[in-house]
Symmetry: C2
Subunit: 229 residues, 2 copies
């Protein structure tokens, strides 16, 4: 009798969903190298499942532009170009600023403390030189923040953008290390939490813009590209 209109449950029921989540997390951890090709049978063997769940998962990921389906029927991790990076930057700023401005009014003390906790782990990952944790926890912090904006339309778009830049976050990280060691005073995430506590949406949006731009600048530097305005 339970018609159960909810779009989907949280715990994956199908293998396809599990495979998708695993691949997704792997991408968001920077485990996928740009330009490398991904094969159905390779993934299937790696995860110990048959081809079908992998097929559907990769179809999802190509739709989200996390992977690319060349017309030689080969699936690869897309490369980056200066033009794509510029677009990713603009789109992230627009959508994430919006998500943040919606979230700021719904963040209660409990949520805030959890954000502090995530950021603490993020900081730890930097000190420990754990690159994959660094990449993943950065996204996790942003996701946890925007979560309270309840953006059921915008959030999937943002996550699609994340999947597209994630493979290049290793370069951002390495650039991080070469140019300057982690500085507590420059903890942009912590500044965001302060802006939230002071209920200052404008400041929060500025910090998000700055945070995203910072990553873009590092990636441009690591790629040897000219730094945009």
């Amino acid at each position: 009798m339970n018609t159960d209109d909810k779009p989907s449950s949280n715990e994956p029921k199908t293998q396809q969903e599990r495979v998708y989540m695993q691949l997704r997390e792997a991408i968001l951890r920077g485990k996928f190298e740009p330009g490398h090709s991904v094969t159905l049978r390779g993934i299937a063997e790696m995860l110990g499942v048959s081809l079908m769940p992998v097929r559907e998962s990769l179809r999802r990921l190509t739709t989200e532009r996390a992977l690319q389906l060349l017309n030689n029927r080969r699936i690869t991790v897309p490369m980056m170009t200066p033009e794509k990076l510029e677009e990713l930057y603009q789109a992230r700023v627009s959508l994430e600023s919006y998500a943040a401005s919606r979230a700021i009014q719904n963040i209660d003390p409990e949520a805030l403390s959890y954000l502090y906790e995530v950021n603490e782990k993020h900081t730890q990952s930097i000190l420990e030189d754990n690159v994959e944790d660094y990449i993943y926890l950065n996204f996790e912090f942003h996701r946890e923040l925007y979560r309270y904006g309840r953006c059921e339309v915008v959030m999937p778009l943002i996550e699609s953008l994340w999947l597209q830049i994630a493979p290049f976050m290793r370069m951002v990280h390495s650039q991080y290390l070469t140019e300057s060691r982690f500085n507590e005073a420059e903890d942009k995430h912590k500044a965001m939490l302060t802006a939230i506590e002071k209920n200052n949406p404008a400041q929060l949006k500025y910090l998000i813009h700055d945070d995203i731009l910072d990553g873009v600048r590092r990636l441009q530097a690591a790629m040897g590209w000219p730094i945009s305005s």
Copy 2:
């Protein structure tokens, strides 16, 4: 020898691609009714193909949020809510303004004349009460405009948003008829083309915002929802 790195060719080679394009166009024509369920075998029988291409196509469309996969394993056309509409509005304005501002500098006279042509057909569809053409040609005009922005990242996001509102454009259209007949002076698309000719990005962005907002308002009215600011 041709490695052919281009992401995909224009002409669909696989059945899955053909099925996807057909379903996509059907959605962008308003042929899919909100709340209705879509079945694999139903589509397969309708299009005369087997289950596999349909499976992959529907997986793509659910990823783009054009369709919804309930946890009863049923695929349906999503309903609209005031909150979703608000998000769709904000996201469309942000992304389409950006796409337009990028496009305006690349539109040559030839492109402009084609845009006039598309808009002419769009106007025709209104006068002929051809609802599906009206819905589709509206998107087609915007797509053709943004095309010259060469937004390979942002464009897929915009199209995802279009797929989500398309099923509700019939209501926008009917509201169009009830409140006021088509007025040549109110042809927003023509005003956009004028803004392009005068090379006025700010005006173009304003007109796009206004055009999108106009549709949102009509939908809100048709749904009996309060009109947002």
